[in-house]
């Protein structure tokens, strides 16, 4: 069953605006990771947030995690045309011996110059 669900499925904004993408998941997690994927290309790791963390920053990226609501958000500030890509969240379950990431369906972000 699908663990992560991204919202919205597609987002179109003007360059310079902020973009917010949300991810919801169903079961307990160890970590939640965000990835970017340009069309037909590899998955680029953006940021990892652990289940005991609430917020994390990396450059123009800000990730929040609310384990009580089983949701996370990715904020990209001052967007650029180069940010155009699909963004996925991925979760891994808690407990030693669990080695898999479950991906959501992704948000397709278009940044218009």
């Amino acid at each position: 069953s699908q663990q992560g669900e991204e919202d919205p499925q597609a987002l179109s904004i003007q360059e310079g605006e902020n973009a917010t993408m949300n991810c919801s998941y169903k079961t307990s997690i160890n970590n939640l990771q965000w990835y970017r994927q340009n069309s037909g290309r590899g998955l680029v790791h953006l940021i990892l947030i652990r289940s005991n963390e609430r917020e994390k920053h990396s450059g123009r990226l800000r990730v929040t995690l609310d384990t009580s609501k089983k949701s996370s958000s990715l904020l990209i500030t001052a967007s650029r045309a180069a940010d155009t890509a699909s963004y996925f969240c991925a979760t891994d379950p808690p407990g030693a011996g669990s080695y898999q990431l479950t991906f959501g369906k992704g948000t397709k972000l278009s940044v218009i110059p």
Binding site: G42, L43, D92, G95, Y99, Q100, L101, K105
Partner: protein, 115 residues
């Protein structure tokens, strides 16, 4: 530092043929994952290995098998290929630190086209 290396980058096979995809994880990473991503789909987990032992299994068809070798590289073997196997296949690696995994880094993927 070198990232996850996958080969080949592109592969075209005919139905019922066999394909082997290779993955070289980041140095000192002990966990390798394989994912399949169909057009417009999210990546689907196939199988993972921790310290050369199979650890988790996802939606991997019985026609597929994988293993991790002593040098930690991994191979995904796909037999009796079907048109529906056409997809991007990604390998990722990470380092497991106790009960908490670390970031998983992905390779550029192998695009398999079955004709």
């Amino acid at each position: 530092a070198a990232g996850v290396i996958q080969s080949p980058r592109h592969l075209i096979k005919e139905k019922r043929e066999t394909a082997t995809l290779k993955c070289y994880p980041i140095s000192r990473h002990d966990t390798v994952y394989w994912y399949q991503q169909g057009p417009g789909q999210d990546p689907q987990f196939l199988i993972s290995f921790y310290e050369k032992m199979q650890s988790d299994k996802g939606s991997i068809p019985d026609r597929f098998s994988a293993q991790q070798f002593s040098d930690y590289h991994s191979e995904l073997n796909m037999s009796s290929l079907e048109l529906g196997d056409s997809a991007l296949y990604f390998c990722a690696s990470s380092f497991v630190a106790g009960p908490t995994n670390t970031e998983a880094f992905f390779g550029q993927g192998t695009r398999l086209t079955v004709v």
